[in-house]
Amino acid sequence: MKIEVDPPTNEVRRDRIERQVFAQLANMRAVERADAAVPEAPAHNNQRPWLFGAIGAGIAAAVALVVVATKPEHPAPAMIVEETTPSRIVTPVGGESQFTVGDAVIVATSDTSIDVKRAEDGGITLVVARGAVDCDVAPRKNRPPFHVIAGDVFVEVVGTRFTVARTPSPRVDVVRGKVRVRAPGGTWLLSAGESWTPPVSASASETVAAVPQIAPVLVAPPPATQVVPVLPPVALPVASAQPDPHALYQTAQRFEATDPGRAAKAYRTVANTNEAWSAPALYGLAELDAKTDSVKALADCNEYLRRFAMSAQLEDIAWLRIEILRSGGKRDEARIAAADYLRQFPQGSYAAIAARIASPPSHD
């Protein structure tokens, strides 16, 4: 017995799925970060460099990487034990370079200078002389410490992916996990989705911080199981929490089945931004609303068509709109929408069905 079933071979559909796959891969870190606060990975595992490459999406083309063995411009603070051979990475303006140091994957952004040091205990310290670095570092449980120094800002990794910028102004963004930031004015523990910028007084000190000014106060890495800071009971500066649209989008997806209201709220929050994920979020919201409220779903679709006329999901939203109209019994409007769809996407994934819907009522 052989039954002929020909799968759809539409290239537009393939391209759409391809985009979704790689977008999803690129956001896996955001998905994982919800579980990454408590590091549990085995000590010998490397981070997934392929995943980082997906996120990099072009960053990986190393641009004029200059590695010069030299004495460090910024000596490490005393708590970093004796260093071995230092190296410096310099990227030109407009260039980015990806490299690995031990189990960490680092991207040096445009116009960045970094000294890389490795201590005898295997600990790694990046000293950012200028520019910014994006670090993907395995949880430090059972691993040597990993630190980043940017002027008078000292970042200790608990286990995370994060970005440290020294210029034009100091800034730390945590994508996953946690880092501890020490800088003039206090100590901060940042979690996923949070960012840090120095208080005004600390920022001012940056201008004279050619050499790290912070006192060597951290003598040893925290215990492996420690995930909350053991900090002096002083009033800590509040880190500026900025919801990550990617993470919020993924949260909305996760809650679709169990808590549609919460999912809709998250989708709407992302949709209202001008981030790259606002279009997918609005699409998700339209699909979600279509299950319960066709009027609202149609409004979502119309908003999408108005705001994202060049979106990759334009065909999908056009088809979703037809489906909503049909399920709502609005056959005439669905017919008009289907005709519109065929004009826009004559070779579209749903063209065959749209043709039937767009045909006169006696044949529908």
Binding site: M1, P8, E18, V21, W50, F99, V105, Y350, A352
Partner: protein, 203 residues
Amino acid sequence: MAPLDDVGLSIVERPTPEDEAELVAACLRGDLAAQRALFRREFARVNATLYRILGPTREVDDLVQETFIAVFRGLAKFRGDARLATWIDRIAVRIAFDHVRTRGRTPVPLGVIGLGDDITDATALDAQAHARDGLRRLYGALAQLSPEARTAFALYAIDGRSIADVSKLVNTSIVTAKLRIWRARRELMRLAAEDPVLKEFVK
């Protein structure tokens, strides 16, 4: 100047993959071009396999996506014991099987994925409509089978795999695969005897 190895520093290279092993290695190094090349090379077969197991449902797109995400996330575990295509097919079949098992035996709704895009006249439209009806009935019948029987039968009778391949993909013995296919065929023919449209479709 100290060698880079002294500080564990290495530059990520981006070679042009020429064979399967190199393609996998490049993907594992994070070469996005290689990952996209792998996706494009394997997409058609994965898409066809999932579509033929699950039928015309919008969930196929999601499951194709899920398959490739699983492939890329698990690529480090690919040891090269089998062909990469076989390894990927196993992932696709497992995802399809899990989906069928989770969804239960509910009938497949009228799908939204067209059979073709080249509709030019009323006759073709009628043929398309008829084919769609047959397809819907086929997958409605398959939905009544056990997930194991459905998956094995779809791989064998619709996707055109050999029984040996089916047994590998569903991780069972050849005898068990044969038995599942035979039971599924028997049940399908019983249903077809009562449904002329289905009968015509599966003849």
